[in-house]
């Protein structure tokens, strides 16, 4: 067994797990810095807790790495159903910070099932898209995948957790593209959402209308379809301010804070400025470990998870940030390369989906700390503090390494 494991391990892309472990190390060093000056017993400090979380994460890595791919393929739909139930469970429990993301499992920490929904979703999609040797250039072929994704995304959005909902939705696009969906169809899928979002200012809406005309003209579908697509979207856009007006004020506010928490003046806007100041003050080389004055950014309630980059940026500087981004890029491109090279379509799709999840997490997390996008509660893979996500991340690495090997008799 053990021999078999090492044999399989040697054949896999070891560089991925090396990068993951290195990044976790960076995270732990940063947590240790944040912990200096904090009081508390061993198990109240995030450094030790994260170290402790690493054990189940590595065990899960070994187990998942060893599961034969046909087993994964066979049971994934069952897992998908189980996952739907799991993400509904927190609604039965207590509200934590007025959300329903966590399940209380009677341990001193909670458990966040939406983290697992992300990759289960990708595998289930991969199975559907590879099983059905679909004529992917037909629009209707995307309908069932869309439904498969919308259900868990809708539930998670109600928790409410926009970040995770986006992560569940996003892999669908590259995966469809990967199996050959026409870019025009992917455009059609996104169009209604863009119509609604752009409708709030006439300039953005006008630009969007022009882009639509151009794309529809280039794609050359039949006339009726073109016209109905175009006006359908225009109508949807025109309708959305009306529907918006029908909402009660507190409902509007809830939606606005969901998309843009910066309207809460004591909350996110303040955080972003503090975060930017910390990162900017770090400079090229940083202030050194434990030296971040800004810093020990106790302004940020989530500096250990979502805003850990602010601490790294201040204490280790642009060099560290550049190394981190490079490592993540290598990790992701390597995953895509494996997806391109692997022999079967199912594995290839899983790899693309997981690559997308990592890309989205990394980009959103980095971008929000410097105010490029509104604050979304998405942690940085391997680096941020958080048990469920660490476990989930290592399972994803195991899946990538596992499925990228040429299937022999493992």
């Amino acid at each position: 067994m053990i021999q078999l494991f090492f044999q399989k391990f040697k054949e896999s892309s070891i560089s991925l797990i090396v990068i993951a472990l290195f990044l976790t190390g960076v995270g732990l060093i940063t947590l240790k810095s944040i912990n200096t000056g904090q009081e508390g017993t061993l198990f109240q400090l995030s450094f030790f807790k994260e170290l402790f979380f690493l054990i189940p994460a590595l065990v899960a890595f070994i187990i998942v790495f060893f599961i034969p791919r046909h087993t994964i393929h066979r049971f994934i739909y069952g897992f998908y159903g189980f996952m739907i139930i799991l993400i509904l469970l927190p609604f039965l429990g207590n509200e934590i910070a007025s959300t329903y993301r966590w399940i209380d499992i009677g341990l001193p920490f909670g458990f966040q099932p939406s983290e697992f929904a992300k990759w289960i979703m990708v595998i289930a999609l991969a199975r559907y898209l590879s099983d059905h040797n679909l004529e992917m250039n037909h629009y209707s072929a995307s309908i069932i995948p869309i439904i498969m994704v919308i259900i868990p995304a809708g539930i998670v959005l109600n928790q409410p957790d926009l970040g995770s909902a986006i992560i569940i939705l996003v892999p669908l696009l590259p995966m469809l593209y990967w199996v050959g969906a026409r870019p025009f169809h992917l455009f059609l899928m996104m169009a209604p959402m863009i119509s609604i979002l752009t409708a709030f200012h006439w300039i953005s809406f006008a630009i969007w209308a022009i882009i639509m005309i151009y794309v529809i003209y280039k794609a050359k579908p039949n006339l009726v379809f073109s016209i109905s697509t175009f006006f359908g979207n225009i109508f949807l856009g025109l309708l959305s301010p009306v529907l918006w007006g029908m909402l009660k004020e507190y409902q509007q506010k809830r939606i606005l804070t969901l998309f843009n928490p910066e309207i809460d003046p004591l909350g996110a806007a303040y955080q972003i400025i503090q975060s930017k100041t910390a990162i900017g003050a770090g400079g090229l080389f940083g202030k050194g470990w434990g030296q971040g004055t800004q810093t020990h950014l106790k302004f940020l309630p989530v500096q250990e998870s979502d805003f850990i980059i602010s601490v790294i940026g201040e204490e280790f500087g642009f060099i560290a940030i550049f190394i981190l981004i490079t490592l993540f890029s290598i990790f992701i491109i390597r995953t895509l390369r494996l997806a391109y090279n692997v022999d079967d379509r199912f594995s290839s799709l899983v790899l693309v989906g997981l690559g997308t999840i990592f890309t989205a997490h990394v980009f959103v997390n980095f971008a929000m700390t410097v105010g490029m996008i509104p604050v979304k509660g998405l942690p940085l893979p391997f680096v941020s503090y958080g048990g469920s996500f660490l476990l989930s991340s290592y399972i994803m690495v195991a899946l990538i390494m596992n499925l990228s090997i040429d299937p022999k008799d493992y």
């Binding site: 791919r69 046909h70 393929h73 910070a97 007025s98 590879s130 099983d131 040797n133 593209y177 990967w178 050959g180 003046p265 004591l266 806007a269 303040y270 400025i273 503090q274 930017k276 100041t277 910390a278 990162i279 900017g280 003050a281 770090g282 400079g283 090229l284 004055t293 800004q294 020990h296 106790k298 302004f299 940026g313 500087g317 642009f318 940030i321 550049f322 981004i325 993540f328 890029s329 992701i332 491109i333 895509l336 390369r337 997806a339 391109y340 692997v342 022999d343 079967d344 379509r345 199912f346 290839s348 693309v352 690559g355 890309t359 990394v362 980009f363 980095f366 971008a367 410097v370 490029m372």
Partner: protein, 591 residues
């Protein structure tokens, strides 16, 4: 299908990888811009300036009387706060603060612990600072890093009235209290939250929305000025609460009743609006705002008269003869009474082996229904009530709202008890009770207990022919939520006439409730409720009408003796206050 071959065009791989590289590259550029290109700006900002968000407390809404007179107001106080992470030397800072303000360091430390929320969030050290204390703090500002003061609106109660049970009070949110609040996320330690009475019921309306303003401070914690990056958000004060109370009437009643154990309620039957609500003894309403001394607290807790008890809604009393109206009306409606039937009262009535007494030992003589109500003859009712079953009688009581909450907009209320056969079976066993119990109950004695606020609803229904709007303290549209439908117009009319006789006939028990004002008609009923705690409780319920304007009154004096002797005169003074002066009439009917 696992064997589906992987045939990905290279172009698609290049496109997807290209997108990833572009995203990552944009991050690198952004971070480079911030950390290398703009480094100097941010370095300065981090070293010299810090932006501090200072929450601006929103004043709670005022509580007003029906004519806009302020009952509960706010006044600004100054509180001293500290940002723990900005203090360089905690011990020394506390010593300086103690020196400047005269407040003991142990008290400062206790507060510090109590209000601590996080290293960079302000915690409160002291409140109610005087300008003297503030100016001394300001002198030492340089040494006192992390210590600030800001304005805090405190509750201020009108000196004219107490009305403490009704208004309730606010509490400061701390670690223990925040666990009991519904919308936890809206409060931070040190905020005020309505804890009892109107302050609690209308918390959502009274609580304002906090504002925030951002100041830049230097490394020593000194304010440099407004932050240019952010706009100040002004706090939104809470919404004022317009009550239906008449402050002058409430004040007059409270003064009249000092030192007694008594409840007085005054309302407008047509709208259900409460004009005055007095429960004595009470306590000063600002008892809970300042730092209550242990002595004060002990005094209130150990007072045998229980000033903290809200007798209006939680005091349970036997209603006494005031309940005779229900017995009479049920009999009338069922045709079980002949209005000219006379029954001789010789002061006592024998049933089985028990003797039931009338309150008038020598007896009333020959009585018909009208006289029996006016003179509150017990013997007459001993006779006639036997024509009803206990459940018929209990149903009639329930219909008038006894045994149920009135749903008045106060934080909570007791339900009281209306015994029916089921209840009696449980209490005494299937064969353990008899008609004799019903005789007792129908006089408002025994297991039957009611709250004064239920009595208010009862008398309002009598005056409004069963369609009295539900009682309320905060101005709203009159709503008939529960009506008494069983009785005919004649029955109501007859009942009113009888009740007028209680006050106006020469032998009427309620004579003393009549201030004898031309044009004013008063209908009412007295009650004298025996109880095991000493003297009987004295009741008067009634309403006065002049120029089609009605005011109803409930008076209850604990162990007050005869209702006609002690309770009725109080009602009389209230009627006199309202109906003898046009000014007061206008104020009472202004809304």
């Amino acid at each position: 299908m696992l064997k589906a071959a992987n045939l990905i065009p290279q172009r698609r791989f290049v496109v997807v990888s290209g997108v990833v590289v572009m995203l990552m590259f944009s991050l690198v550029i952004r971070f480079f811009y911030l950390q290398v290109y703009s480094h100097d700006t941010y370095k300065k900002k981090a070293e010299v300036n810090r932006i501090r968000a200072i929450p601006l407390n929103a004043p709670r809404g005022l509580i007003l009387d029906r004519n806009g007179q302020i009952i509960v107001d706010n006044y600004p106080t100054y509180v001293l706060t500290v940002i723990p992470g900005e203090m360089i030397n905690k011990e020394k800072n506390f010593q300086i603060v103690s020196y400047c303000t005269g407040i003991d360091t142990t008290l400062l430390k206790t507060n510090y612990k109590k209000y601590y929320r996080g290293r960079f969030l302000p915690a409160r050290l002291a409140k109610d600072l005087t300008f003297d204390q503030l100016s001394r703090i300001e002198e030492h500002k340089q040494e006192l890093t992390g210590i600030n003061y800001n304005q805090f609106p405190e509750r201020y109660f009108s000196e004219k009235i107490n009305a403490s049970h009704l208004l309730g009070y606010v509490k400061e949110v701390d670690k223990a209290i925040i666990e009991e609040i519904n919308e936890k996320e809206k409060y931070i330690y040190g905020d005020l939250v309505g804890w009892r009475g109107l302050e609690k019921v209308y918390e959502n309306r009274l609580r304002g929305i906090k504002g925030v303003h951002f100041v830049e401070v230097d490394a020593y914690g000194r304010e440099i000025g407004q932050s240019s990056d952010y706009e100040k958000e002004n706090p939104v004060p809470g919404i004022d609460l317009q009550t239906t109370l008449l402050i002058s009437l409430q004040a007059m009643i409270e003064k009249m009743l000092d030192g007694k154990r008594v409840v007085v309620l005054v309302s407008l039957p047509e709208s259900g609006e409460m004009l005055a609500m007095v429960s004595k003894p009470d306590y000063p309403p600002d008892l809970f705002t300042g730092e209550t001394t242990v002595d004060d607290w002990q005094k209130i807790i150990s007072n045998p008269d229980k000033p903290l008890l809200n007798r209006m809604t939680h005091g349970l009393y036997p209603p006494g003869s005031t309940l005779k109206m229900i017995t009479a009306m049920s009999l009338m409606e069922k045709g079980k009474i002949n209005y000219s039937e006379k029954i001789n009262c010789n002061g006592a009535y024998e049933l089985g082996d028990r003797i039931f007494h009338c309150w008038k030992e020598e007896g009333h003589g020959e009585m018909d229904l009208e006289q029996a109500i006016a003179q509150s003859c017990n013997v007459y009712f001993y006779h006639v009530v036997q024509r009803l079953s206990i459940d018929e009688w209990a149903n009639a009581c329930n219909e008038f709202g006894f045994g149920q909450r009135t749903e008045i907009d106060l934080a909570s209320e007791a339900k009281g008890v209306v015994p029916n056969s089921q209840f009696m079976n449980k209490q005494y066993g299937r064969w353990g009770w008899s008609k004799g119990h019903l005789l007792n109950l129908s006089l408002g004695q025994g297991e039957l207990v009611v709250t004064p606020i239920q009595m208010m609803q009862f008398i309002n229904n009598l005056s409004m022919n069963g369609r009295a709007p539900s009682l309320h303290v905060v101005k709203e549209k009159p709503q008939v939520k529960r009506s008494v439908n069983r009785y005919t117009h004649q029955t109501w009319k007859r009942m009113k006439r009888y009740m007028q006789n209680v006050v106006s006939s020469t032998h009427g028990t309620g004579k003393r409730a009549n201030p004898e004002i031309p044009g004013l008609k008063i209908a009412g009923k007295t009650g004298t409720a025996q109880n095991p705690h000493g003297e009987p409780h004295a009741w008067f319920i009634g309403y006065g009408e002049k120029n089609k304007k009605q005011v109803s009154v409930v008076v209850l004096i604990e162990n007050g003796g005869h209702g006609g002797v002690t309770a009725a005169p109080i009602a009389g003074r209230i009627f006199d206050f309202l109906f003898s002066s046009n000014e007061n009439m206008n104020l009472a009917f202004s809304l």
